[in-house]
Each structure stands twice: as structure tokens, then as C-alpha cells.
Symmetry: C2
Subunit: 308 residues, 2 copies
């Protein structure tokens, strides 16, 4: 890591978990000369000012992006198009616009057409998060050693991509490029479908009359406790993810149901060998994740420590 | 908490995660005068001797239980019946026999008939665990502030139950009583079905040709990473759990599939309101778990620190 700012002026649009973590990480690494921020609600802007989030918190989105060399869209996936339309007239020629949305195909389709040809649009997605949200949930180490995927469309200026890559690396991330369709499929498997399943399981527990919520809460063992954490994530963000990554999520859900039915049949028929073999196979993936350093084999669960 | 040993002589049958954690917790609290241990494999017995697990590691199960005031069956659920038959002729009159199996109805049905009338059989289940197994995986704080459920059959000597309760409390646990059927339903919701689902999701990821295992491993985000940890648990233990808690697991799976289909339909039809409402409802359960102190809202995930 090294040197001065990667971008002189950065604008963060939306000031939630991801944007605030980006600000603290930029501050930690001296990655930007000046950061301006904007959120649609006064409450969020006030909070940001109170906790020192961004050098300048602007009351208008136009003002926030006006001089920016890098504009980061950090709002729910379903809001990206409208925000892009709003900022478009105010962007500085030569600026880079990126986003951090969890789905890439629809964001590219909805943001791209609004932006002038004078700016570089490079979609992105940091694979890092927690179940918390809002301007006070961010911390500087969120992206450390995690991947950020960049999804440039064909014909994007390679220098602009290289600079954005350096930016994310200076925030602590490992950066790779991928096309939008593959991104959405990979994420459907590694993040979106698991979230839907966790939400469903917690919903089932909540519904079951013969087991009270208070029993579920008292006796929630490992496994379910992890699910409740996942299922505590922001409803707006996740609604938008599923509405926008419909195809890949439905495909993975179809496969999931098929395999679940096979296991269910093994339970019903008492096929212990099938269950044993299945449960043995899945251990290998865990081992791979530990070896790749994407989690640690210790009780702190490999999640980043909160530090600013 | 207080005072001297709750049982003068304790025997641990099976020396894996649960038994070894019980030993370290007994040692920490001075809960037993002497602890003997037995495991079927020489390898496990050697390891136990090497790390100082148990005061005496016996090469025969008869020897291990001969003088015990409390015998703990800490083997997979499917092995409980056979182990009970083996120890039965060697039990001291007046002794208490308990188990730690994750399913209770079948264990009671399979263990009870083998034991002489001169001993108290009180089934139990500590709601605490990790994805690790074997004699070296235990630690003294595993049961701290977690529930242990006791499942005495009708007519059990209340004094024997009270003593076993004190024993678990001295190991750090909160103790409650419950009947076997309700136990198995509660656990199907809070632990068994979540585990099956996690195994399935990891299996789906492993199967998908267009996304390589190495991509799954590199890009595994929160959510999926948690699933891989759950799905790394011991295959024998979990095979036995599903074979022995068939009815309740199948019931909960049926409900799960029903709700998952409803969410899947909402995704397909683009019903954002349904998704939003569902995702909002499940947050309340998480809040309850945090308030009940069964997890903490911090990145170490509320899992016990490894300390002996
Ligand atoms: N959380 C994660 O784990 C994670 C991980 C990777 C990527 N992402 C992606 O990152 C983006 C931001 O997520 P986050 O977790 O940072 O969210 P967050 O903490 O909930 O913050 C969202 C921000 O977007 C603003 N916003 C919400 N709806 C809006 C709308 N309709 N128009 C304009 N602004 C709106 C909010 O403004 P107010 O505060 O004024 O309401 C808030 O500042 C999302 O696209 C998400 O998919 C999230
Ligand atoms: N792990 C959890 O999260 C958890 C939580 C609560 C309750 N439980 C219950 O606690 C019990 C023990 O689980 P654990 O996690 O401690 O298991 P573990 O670490 O895998 O240890 C199992 C022990 O049982 C012995 N064993 C295995 N199969 C046997 C057989 N057929 N006959 C005789 N002995 C056999 C093993 O002997 P060798 O070492 O010689 O092979 C080993 O000592 C299970 O009934 C499980 O359902 C587990």
C-alpha cells in the first residue's frame, strides 16, 4: 500500500453500512483527498454530521457529486436507476461512477443509460457486509481481505478500471473482474439463496404454534442462531436483491428444493448411508474456505473487528 | 454454585466434544470427585491419556462404569441402545445414568429397557455445541449460560433429578425439564432442520458446474460462510439425529418447503410487498434472542471462548 489519494474528490451517495465503511477505510488509508456525502433523509445526514462521517455532508445530491472524481452509489439496488438519473446532469466530465449493489445485471441496465458519455461507469460489488445497516454501522476494516468484484462493460477505459481497482485495494480488498451474468449466479449461490432460506426457516419457527417464540428464543442452538442473525438483515436491501436477481435465484432455489427432497426421502426411508455420504461431502468445501483464508476456524467466526 | 462434588464418581462413555467439555467443566468447578472415561477406539483413549482428559481412562467399559454414581452416555444417538446393553450388568445400584443425545424419544425407548430397576435413568441434552468433534475439541466453558434440557420419564425419583440438575448447573448450564416429544419438536425447529438446510445449500453449491468450488470458496459471503461451518459438523452424529427424529424433522421440513414456495412465488411474480413484510417479521425473533442473552450483537458471534 502506498502514497497519496487515489481520487482527489469522492462522493458517497447513500450513507449506510457500505458507504460509511468506505469512508472510514478511505480515512484510514488516506485514499481520498476529500469525501462528500449525501443521503435522502435529514435524519441520516444529521447523524453523519454528528459522527464525523464524510468531510462534507451535503443537503443536495447535485452539490455532493458536482466536483467528484469518483461517485459511489451506495443505495438499495432498486433505487440505483432513479439516483443515476438525478446525478447525471451534475457529473464532472472524466469522472468515474461506480456502485456497490449486490446485483449487477439490472443495475448496469438501469444506471448505464442515464449517464453521459463523458463519465466512466464501472459497476462493482464488495463481498463484505454484516446484518446491520445505517450510517452508524460502518467500520474501517469491513473490506480487509475480502473480495470486491468489478463488472466493467465492454469498451470501458482500462485506465479508469485500473484506478478503481487500486482504490478498492487501498480500502483493503482483493479485486477481481467478472461479467454481470456470472456475478449474479455466483452471488445467488453464495449469498442470495442462503439468505432467503434463513429468512424462511426463521419464519417457520415464528409460525409454529406448538413451539412458542419464547421457546425458540431460549433454546435456539447453533445453526438456528446463525440463521436469525442472517434473517435480521435489512428488508429493503433484500427485497431489492430478490426482485433484481430473480432468474439466478429461482434457478438455485429449484436445485436446492430438488436436493432437499432427496434428503427428505432418505430420512423418510431411513437411508442412513445416503445421509452420511451427503454430510461427508459438504465438509470439503468448509476446509477449502478455511484454507483460502476467507474465514477462520475459531469462535470469533472470522468476522471483522469493529474499529474506526 | 458451591461446595464439594455433586457426584463422587462420574463415568463418561464416549470421549468426544460433549464428554470432553463436561470433563473440563467438572474440573473447573470441582463438580466430581473422580472421573473415569471410556471410548471404543484405542486412538481416542490414547489421546485422552495424553491430554489429561479424565482421571482414569479405562480400556473396558465395564471397568469405567463399575463404581460410578453418575454414568454419562456421550455417543451418537444411534449407538445409545447398544452401549446401554453393554453397561447394564456392571452398574452400581442407586447410580444415575444420563445421556447427552440430541434426540430424546428414541433414546429413552432404546436405553430404558436395558437398564436394571436399581438405577435412575434420566435423559438429558445440553443445547451447546460446535462443528468440531473428538476428544481434543472440548473446552470448559461450552455449557456456560446455555440450556440443558432434562427429560425424566414419569415416576423418576425427584431427588435423583434434582441432583442431576445441580450437576449441570455447576457445569455452567441453565436447566429445564421437558417431555420427550416436545423436546424433539423444539429441536427439529431450532437445530435439526436448520442443519439439514445448511447441508443441502452447501451441497447445491458443490454440485453447480457453472460455478466452480474455488469460486464458491473465494467469494463465499456472509450467509453462505455460516452455512459451511454448520455443514462441517460430524456426519455420524447428524445421520443419527435425522434417522431418530424423523417425524418432527419431516413435519418442519414440510412447513419449510411450503413457506419457501410462497417466497419463491413472490420472487417470480415480483411481489415486493410480500417479500418486504416477510423479511421484516423475522427481525423480531433475532431481537428476542439478543435480549434473552442467548447470543450477542457483536462480531465474535456469542460463541464460547476456548479455555480449559
Ligand atoms: N449490507 C450488506 O451486507 C451489503 C454488502 C454488499 C453490498 N451491499 C449493497 O450496498 C448497497 C447499500 O447497502 P447498505 O447495507 O449500505 O444499506 P443501508 O445501510 O441500509 O443504507 C442505505 C442507504 O441508501 C439510502 N436509500 C435507501 N433507499 C433509498 C432510495 N429509494 N433512494 C435513495 N436513497 C435511498 C438510505 O438513505 P436514508 O438513510 O436516508 O434512508 C441509506 O443512506 C445496497 O445496494 C446493497 O445491496 C450491501
Ligand atoms: N456436537 C454437538 O454440537 C452436540 C451438541 C449437543 C449434543 N450432542 C450429542 O452428544 C453426543 C456426542 O456428540 P459429540 O459431539 O461429543 O461426538 P464426537 O465428538 O463425535 O464423539 C463421539 C464419541 O462417541 C464414540 N462413538 C461413536 N460411535 C460409537 C459407537 N457406535 N459405539 C460406541 N461409541 C461410539 C466415539 O468414539 P471414538 O472416538 O472411539 O470413535 C467418540 O468418543 C451425540 O449423541 C450428539 O447427538 C452433540
Amino acid at each position: 500500500m502506498s502514497d497519496g489519494p487515489v481520487y482527489e474528490r469522492v462522493a458517497l451517495i447513500g450513507l449506510g453500512l457500505i458507504a460509511s465503511s468506505m469512508f472510514w477505510a478511505m480515512k484510514r488509508g488516506g485514499v481520498a483527498g476529500h469525501v462528500s456525502g449525501y443521503a435522502r433523509s435529514e435524519a441520516t445526514r444529521d447523524t453523519a454530521r454528528r459522527i464525523g462521517l464524510c468531510h462534507t455532508v451535503c443537503d443536495s445530491i447535485a452539490e455532493a457529486v458536482a466536483d467528484a472524481d469518483l461517485v459511489v452509489l451506495a443505495v438499495p439496488v432498486g433505487a440505483m436507476g432513479a439516483v443515476a438519473a438525478e446525478i447525471a446532469p451534475h457529473l464532472k466530465p472524466g469522472a468515474t461512477v461506480t456502485d456497490v449493489g449486490s446485483v449487477k445485471r439490472t443495475v448496469i441496465t438501469e444506471v448505464g443509460p442515464h449517464l453521459p458519455e463523458t463519465v466512466h461507469f464501472i459497476a462493482g460489488h464488495p463481498l463484505a457486509g454484516t446484518e446491520h445497516s445505517g450510517p452508524e454501522s460502518g467500520f474501517s476494516t469491513l473490506f480487509d481481505n475480502r473480495f470486491t468484484l468489478l463488472v466493467p462493460v465492454e469498451g470501458t477505459d482500462p485506465e479508469a478500471v485500473a484506478r478503481l481497482r487500486t482504490f478498492w485495494e487501498r480500502l483493503g480488498a482483493r479485486v477481481e473482474e467478472m461479467d454481470a451474468e456470472h456475478h449474479d449466479l455466483v452471488l445467488a449461490v453464495t449469498s442470495h439463496t442462503p439468505h432467503l432460506i434463513a429468512y424462511t426457516m426463521v419464519g417457520v419457527a415464528d409460525d409454529l404454534r406448538r413451539v412458542t417464540d419464547s421457546e425458540v428464543i431460549k433454546y435456539s442452538a447453533a445453526g438456528f442462531r446463525d440463521f436469525t442473525r442472517i434473517a435480521a438483515s435489512d428488508p429493503t436491501m433484500w427485497r431489492d436483491v430478490f426482485l433484481n436477481n430473480k432468474e439466478a435465484t429461482l434457478e438455485i432455489l429449484g436445485r436446492f428444493t430438488e436436493e432437499l427432497f432427496a434428503l427428505q426421502r432418505a430420512i423418510r426411508t431411513g437411508d442412513g448411508d445416503m445421509l452420511f455420504d451427503y454430510f461427508t461431502r459438504t465438509r470439503a468445501i468448509r476446509r477449502g474456505i478455511l484454507e483460502a483464508g476467507q474465514d477462520i476456524d475459531a469462535p470469533d467466526f472470522g468476522r471483522a473487528k469493529v474499529e474506526r
